[in-house]
Each structure stands twice: as C-alpha cells, then as structure tokens.
Amino acid sequence: MLSPWFLCRNEDLKEMLESNKESLKLEAMKRIVGLIAKGKNASELFPAVVKNVASKNIELKKLVYVYLVRYAEEQQDLALLSISTFQRALKDPNQLIRASALRVLSSIRVPIIVPIMMLAIKEAATDLSPYVRKTAAHAIQKLYSLDPDQKEHLIEVIEKLLKDKSTLVAGSVVMAFEEVCPDRIDLIHKNYRKLCNLLVDVEEWGQVVIIHMLTRYARTQFVSPWREDAVFDENSAKAFYDSEEERRVDQSKPYIMDPDHRLLLRNTKPLLQSRNTAVVMAVSQLYWHLAPKHELSIITKSLVRLLRSHREVQYIVLQNIATMSIQRKGMFEPFMKSFYVRSTDATHIKTLKLEILTNLANEANISTILREFQTYVKSQDKAFAAATIQAIGCCATNISEVTDTCLNGLVLLLSNRDETVVAESVVVIKKLLQTQPSQHSDIIKHMAKLFDNITVPMARASILWLMGEYCEHVPKIAPDVLRKMAKTFTDEEDIVKLQIVNLAAKLYLTNSKQTKLLTQYILNLGKYDQNYDIRDRTRFIRQLIVPNEKSGALSKYARRILMAPKPAPVLQSAFKDRDRFQLGTLSHTLNSQASGYLELSDWPAVAPDQSVRNVEVVEPVKETGAPALSKSKHFDAVSWPVCVSLQASSPVFVPETSHELLHRMTGKGLSAQYRFTRQPCIYGNSMVSLQLTLSNSTDQALENIHISEKSSTGQNIHRFNAIERLEPQASVTVSMGVDFNDSTQAANFQLCTKEDEFSVSIQPAVGELLLPITMSEADFTKEQGKLVGMNESSATITMTPENVSSQSVNRKVVSVANLGVIPSGQENIYRFSGKTVSSGSLVLVSVVLKDPDAVITINTEKTVMGSMLLRQVKTALTNSGP
C-alpha cells in the first residue's frame, strides 16, 4: 500500500496517472473514484484521466468510464478527445466491448456528439447480439433527454426494436417507448401478442414496465368487462354475489371478452408468484384495472403475502390495499387479522392498518374490530391512540348498530389520563352527536362535568360548541358553563374564545333571562381582545343578537341564523378518491399527480378494430398456455442437447381419447384412465409422457394411491407421487412417464392403494412412441434416400373418396401417430416426420396419391415399428368416417 501522504493530493494523483506503471494508474483511479463517491470535486484531473481511456487494463478502463460519465458534461471540449476510442470500440468483434462502448458514449451528455450517438444507436439496434440491442434501447432514452428534437428518428428505432423477439430487449425497449412516445399506442398493436407471450421470460424489472404499459394499452383497446350498470364503488356486501349477477346480465346482453384481453390476463397471472414485490404489485393493479370483478380475488393472497416484506414495501402495499378495500371489502375481509397492529410497527404502518380495518368493518365483524381497537387506544404511541379514536368514530357512523356502544366507550375515554386521548375523544364525540341528533343530553352533561379538567383547546372548543348547539337539552348546565367561562375568558386560546362568544350568543337567544348580563360582559371582553378575529366576531354577534335601532333586518333572523340545523360532518376515509390514480403508481402513493404520470383512459364504448393486432406470420402459441411452453423451453434447450436437426417440435394433434387402465368394478371402486399427452416427457428424454386420471367411485376416501416399486416388467417407469388421500367421488390427474424402449410391449405394473394392489398394463399404440419433428422438404428427401432397402416398407391402398382431400389425409395420419407435418410443394404428396422416443431414430412417412390409389411409404431404421405403423396408417386411410 502507498503511504497516506498521497491521499487526496491532486498533484500526486496526476503524477501517478502519468506514470508508466499500470498498478499506479489503477491505484490513482481508485482514489479518484473514492473522491467522486464522497461528492468531492475531482474535475481538475480530467486531462490526466481521459488519456487512459484506451487502456488495455479492463478495470482501469471501467474506472475511467465512471469518471468520464461523471465529468464529461462539465468538460465538454476535453471529453471529445475520448470519442474516437468509443467509435472504434463500437466495431469491436466482442459484443461486451461494443455494448459498453455504446453505454458510455451515450452517457456522455455533450450535445455536439448527438449525430454520432444517433448513428451508433441505429447501428446497434440491428446488431446481432441481443445484449447490444438492449444497450441500444437504453441509449435511446439517454439521447432523448439530451436532445428531444431527435424524437422522430428515435421512434423509428423504437419501432424496429419493438419487433425484436429477444426477451432481453423487450423490457428495455418498452421502457424507452414509455419515456419517448407513450402516446404512440399504434406501435404496440402488432407486438401486443408477442409481448404477452414473452412476458414470463422477460427479466423482472422489464416485466414491471411492460405490465404497466399493457394496462394502459388494454384500457384503450378493449371494452369494459364490468357490468353495464356496475358503478365502480358498488357495495361490498354484493361483491360476493356479483359473479352470479353478472351472469344474469350477460344473458340479456352477452359480453364476450376479446381473446387478446383474456391472453393478457392469463399470461400475467403466474407472475403473482414472483419473488419481486414490484412485479406482484404490477400484476395486482393490472387485474384491478382490467379483470372482470369476480376474477379479482386471486390477487388478494399475493398482496397479503407482500405484507411480510420490508417496512417500505408494507407501506406501499397497505396504501394500495386501503384504496381497494374501500370499494371491495369482500376481497380482504377473510384476511382481516393480517392487518392487526403490532406494537413494533412504524407509526405510518399502524395508521394505514387502522385505515384498512376501518374500511373492512361491517355488522358481522365490528365487535371483533372494536375489541382490537380497545387495545390500541391504550397504546404508548399517543399519536396512534388518537388515530384509533378517529377510527372508532368512523366505525360508529358507518355501522349504526354500534353507534351507541362506541359513544359509551368514547365517553369512558374522557376520563383517560392522557390529554391527547381525551381531546380526540371529545372531537369525535362531537361529530358523532351531530350525526345522531337524538337525546344524548347525558353525554353532554358528562362532558360539562369533565370540562374543568380538559386543557386541550380543540377539545374545550368542541365541548362549548356542543353546549351551545344543544343548549335546549341542558338548560340548567349551559348557563353555568358560560359563567365559568366568563371568569377565565382572558386566559383562553383563540379558538376557545370564539366558541365562548358563540355559546353566549346562542344562550342569549334561547335563555336571555339568565344570561343577558353574562353575554353583555363576554361581548365587552371580546370587544377589547388583542386578536382582531375575536374583536370582529364580537362586533358581528352583538349587531346580530342585540336589537337596536341601527341593526337592520338581519337581527330578526338571528335565531334562524345561529340555531339553524347543521348538516352532520361526513366521516370518510382519506383514501376515498385515491382511485383516480392508477394503483401502484407514485402518484397514488402521494395522492397528487407526479410529473410524467400517464392517465389511465376510460374503457372505450366500442372496441377499436381488433384485427390491428393480427400479425401476418401466424403465431401458433397464441391460444395455448404460453407460460408453460416457454418455461419448458428452457428445459429442452438445457437438458436435452439433442441433435439439432431432430429437435422435437410441438405436437400437431393431441387426441382427447383416453383408454381404460382399471375399471371401477375390478378396482373395487378405484378407476383409472390414461391418455397420451404427446408432449416431450419431463421426467426423462426417453420416456413417453402419460396422463393418468384416477377417480374414486366408492363412498369412502382412498388413501395412499401409488405405483408399487417392484412391479414393472423391464420398462423404466417414472411413478407419480403417492396420492395421500382421494375423497369419495373425487378424481385427480397425475402424470407419469414410461420408457417403452420403442416397442409396443405392454408396461405392466401394480397400482396400489392402502389396502389393495391391482395389476394393470398399458399397451401403447405404435404411433404414441413417436415425437414429431420438423424439417424441410429437401431434408426429408435426403433422409429418405438414406433409409432405403430393408428400412423401407410400403403399401398401396385404394382410397375412399372422402379421404382424398389434403386435410383429411393429414388429419388421419397425425391422429394415428404423433408426427410432424412437412409443408409439401407437390399437391398429391404428403410427408410426415418424427423420431422414436427412446432411441431417437428417424421415422419418415409419405403418402402419394395416384387416383384412386395411394402409396404409403415408411422409412425407418426400426423396421418392426415401421411395419406396424404402416398397418395402422393403412387402416386409418381406408376407413371412411371421421
């Protein structure tokens, strides 16, 4: 290590940078980075540092990049010296170097190089490496913020990159889209389905961005899945039943969800299981804004799960739940206990939980909630105790059954030792009494008694207001309170003084005999008060209530003005209209529009043309379970590095027919059926994948259903996991794999329950021992040429006329055998190809039509299989019927 004498001395650092030793240079750069990190200015060293930009040492180079990006803006002329290095690096054969050159080049915020950046981005966008293209997508945003005039050109690049099929690029380009041209929704149309299908495989940060963008997109393109008359904030009690209601409405006016809308919902659902909280929240908000209401409940569990995460995550999630729970209580009610407050929670978490509990309160659970609230009121955290009292008030107004209980409880709190608790109680009681203008004179009397001990101004003012408002209910006490107040008037706070004047005026009007002099006295005190508001109010009140010759018509109405019935205040949640913002956004958290917030549009009344999303190339994955396929793709690519030309493709046709394995009579109530799924087996690449449906037709549960270990006859069987318990009349589907060794010999094994064992056997049809592969017509003929002689078997048949069409030939063949169809150039020749599951030998089938005859030829090394297959294809093609 070098001596500390060197530290932070610019001259020495410069010297080190100019030395010939790499290690010294590196040491100097490390210290400079240390300076930058501390926020110290190191711009003086720019010339010395920039010289090292072309260094061979990769760490040194990276640190120079860090420096360059930080100071280039301040030293524009010098920064230009480094540009040529990057331009050279952009042509480097190593993709990592190309990408990092583009990254740094685009991070140098120097306006002169905008054209160079533009050129570099355009080039990188067509790079072969997806990693470089991803960097290009990032660079778009950087260039846009440097020079917004480039927008048009950048949009062209975005358009190109949106077509990219790489999962690596998708997230970044959508981010660029959101930043540069979020209004160009037309660019999304053609890529919509692709984005939906790619979504599960995109990295997690990209998922968040794409989901938010697609939410906005969907709101402009699809019609509302919500009922016509469904007001957004319908009563929660209905929420449980509304799927039923929906159906009823549907009958009168059927709503059919656009398949693309469904695709989005289906493909985002698995992401609820993501470990990334931002992804879960993004999917939740997507469901909230796009899904039919009865499907909404699936997000609840995931949101509640997030509450286990860090404090900050809890804060955001609770806020969103608070907004949701106002409109849909039913969603979170079963999870009410997850919102119970712990003494270790931070205050803002506590208040949010309280808010949610208040929202969830209904007639059924209110007693539990109130009991819980009782504990909170006693909390050491007084701010939280005060918030709890507010919450009790809210519950009391919302649920009329408990109003009295709450009021009594609050009155008890009036004798609490803590001032803030008492004050809050008074304020809440005041509000409650106002909403319940019945006979609550007891409570008012009680409050009058406590009045002397209460010192919080707001509470005192509230009591005085109550006295005045309901002075007719407490005719004896009110004047006495006024008398006391007259004594202490000068020492009171301003809000209390205003209320004293108010009380005096009201008493004067209702009970002038007793209070006339007192009122005069108080009005005189008020007249000379220091505060002009009070002087003003006093003057006004005097003119209003004390009639004299100058007072006009107004004093006649004094009583009607002062004693007018007042509307009760509405106690409502602070999250009442948060839903004007899209959930999960910064704006929603702050409850004010953040810059760059994009409004979620209303559903269109009529759906725009849906054909805009059609892509010319037909996408076979459109309607299948896309997430599944893409996940298993990993599997293929990784664990089966099969010869590429024999890569299995997805099956053309999967028959639905299932075969009986065990009849319920022989199985003592247990019946089993199997079918071939024709998918590559996940248990092993030489296995045939089977789906087993087990059902219990007895009236007792069957336990421990499994396949016996010892049984099988030579074949390798992957057993399904033992089923612990199968309820009566229930059935369960499991999958298993059998390696038939490319023979049609039956696999025998024992299916066992806890009590019994049943011998069963699966005899596969030869066509099920194949997996389809795709190849070109040329490859087919080439391969066929290699498999002649013994390996070829053929037969001539007479076709029934209805079988002659191309469709029916294809259908017949693929239903018999799991083969892939090869696009054929000639009209009367049909070709199919596949490989055997176990050994992977090629199986080629061709059907040549020569009216009215047809020649079937099968080429394969497995001659036995070939002849069996030939027989089956022959039968299939000669049989008429479907």
Binding site: S23, A37, R342, T375, Q380, A594, G625, H634, V638
Partner: protein, 418 residues
Amino acid sequence: MIHSLFLINASGDIFLEKHWKSVVSRSVCDYFFEALERATEPENVPPVIPTPHHYLINVLRHRIYFVAVIQSEVPPLFVIEFLHRVVDTFQDYFGVCTEAAIKDNVVVVYELLEEMLDNGFPLATESNILKELIKPPTILRTVVNTITGSTNVGEQLPTGQLSVVPWRRTGVKYTNNEAYFDVVEEIDAIIDKSGSTITAEIQGVIDACVKLTGMPDLTLSFMNPRLLDDVSFHPCVRFKRWEAERILSFIPPDGNFRLLSYHVSSQNLVAIPVYVKHNISFREGSSQGRFELTLGPKQTMGKAVESVLVSSQLPRGVLNANLNPSQGTYTFDPVTKLLSWDVGKINPQKLPSLKGSMSLQTGASKPDENPTINIQFKIQQLAISGLKVNRLDMYGEKYKPFKGIKYMTKAGKFQVRT
C-alpha cells in the same frame, strides 16, 4: 428512472453518492433531513418524500438510509425493491452491509452500482451474473491483485446474460457436489392477555445452498404439498409443473439463494410452542410496580426451545427495574426503557422466570398501559406446520450429489399483550 443514490448514516452524514444521469446536488437531501427530524423514531421516516422537483424514495437497513432520487412517475415499489436488492448484493459481497464495509470497498461498490443500473434502469441484479462481472473481494484476491496488478473485474460477458437460464453461470465445477436445503418457518402471532391466540400465521422459506457441477436439473417434492397456501418462487422454478403436480422443478443458481417462500393455509390451526405467564402491575399511589414473567414450552413435539430472547418496552414512567432471573441475563436501558432478557434454552423441568420490582417516578400517576412482550426463539429440526420434503432428485448430470435437508422453526413477530 432512478436518478441518483445517496447513502446516509445514522448521524445524518451523506457518505456516498452515485449519479446515473446529470448530477443532482446533494442539497436535495435536506428535504429528507427535515423528514428525519420530524420522525420520532428512525423507522418513522416516510418511505416516499416529495420535494419541489424530485421525489425521494428511501429504505432503511442496517442503520443506513438508501435514498434514491426520482424525477418522474415510477412505481414506488420498483425503486424500493431495487434498493433492497442493492443492500442484499452488498451483504453478499462484503458479508455485512455497514458504513465501514461500504467505505472500505468503495471501488467495488461503485463498480457494482455501475453494473446494476444503466441510465437508472436495472441492468444486472442477479448475484450469479454480478459475480462473474465483478469478483467479490477476498483477502487472498486482494493480496494477489496488489502483487500481480490483476483486477477483480471479469473480462467476459457473463454467459448467463444471454442464455435461457440467466440466473445460473456456466462452467460450474465442484469436487464435492452438494445441495443443502433449509426449511425455515416463522410464527407470527399475537397472544392476548389471557393467553388465547388472537392471530397466528406460519410463513416459511426454503433457502438453498447448491454447489453442483454443470447444469443439474433438480426436482423437489413434498409429502404434503397441500399445506402450502400461497407461494412465491425464485425465477428458476417451473411454474407449470408446480401447478400441475405440486413439484418444484428447477435448474438452480449456483450458491445460496431463496428457492421458495410460502404461507401456510390459514385454516390449519397453528401450534404455539411457548406460553407466557405474566403479572405486571402498577399500584395507584405507590412508586413501585411488580414484574413477574414465566416462560414454558408447549406443543413442541419433544424438541427443545432454544435461543429465547424476551424484550419489552416498559412504560415511560418506569425509572428502573430490579429483577431476578432464574436463568440467563437481563438488561434494562433507563433511557429507552427497553427491557431485554436473554433466556437461552428452556428447560421444561425448571421453567425460566424473571421476577422483581420496578421503581416508578414518584408522584407520577400509574401508567395506564401494560407493556407488550416480544419473544424470539428457535426450535431446531422441526417445521411447525408439519411440512416435509419427500425427495430430491437430480437429472441431467451423472454424478451422485450429497443432499441435505434441515428444518427449523423461529419466532417471527411474536407478541404477547399484557
């Protein structure tokens, strides 16, 4: 998205800053300091703070505030999740995430931050990828680097970035192939005064440490998968197989990772492994209070309850506590009023207790609230929900790995109200 990052320590000093776009002056943190001042506790700082031109989103971990500066609309959880990921990465690299560790490794920190974000958008956050880009500092490597002048920056693009399994690096080689799984369950519970359970939930995780050569493909199955009510997966888990067969099938990342976190369905009754007898009372007018606490095990299925730690925030009026523990040691901080008692292991024959008196401020009225008791404990070799791993199989590689599964139950947020 994320404009800049400031790291602020407990005493309010900015000790690191990093900018991904134009430089934002550190004076923007003044708004944060204002909020910090208003908050009574460090945890009470609101996670999102608006300022006139920026928004500050912060997380607090290891007594360091990570403050991200945002300029326009972005999902706040996106930023929060990312900041936590940054902390996790630091912890992974340096063992601890403290101010000292960050300052000592400032160059690595900078290199990491540079790779994790590009223009404010996350680039590489997978630990396997980062470790290929930037090697974690070890003593040996530091020595070697100083002598040979070599670097700890990788020269190749991590293969994971481009492959279909971005979480796993290629070319992994071990002489001992081993895979360990820890099933850790936490009980969150609130117990009321009378000892009845108000709410109790079990949350669990399966943490894995997998050191296997090549590209192994693992499947893990459970004896009773139906216990798992809600799960979240590491991205490596194939969702479809879980849906269809309740089997975890995955190509694991190399090293330590969290495979799965789960929630046990709330229909199942939760066994509470400890009970507390307590008598904490204050008499009106007297300056003394009684304090009695006894712990005991129940429903532990014969396993010992270990590492028990009891803590309680006593009311503000308590001046001092004079207590006598039957085992372990206790401390009482007269400033924060925090009582903590390190019990150790519970012996069912001789139950641990803590008894004595508390002295109160003279003249002060009796506190109207009794303190809550927080309990931490561990039970080895037991998953309280009854979850059991059935088997672990490996495909795709020829060798026989060494496999191990460990179970543990811990207290999560376990509170007893008195």
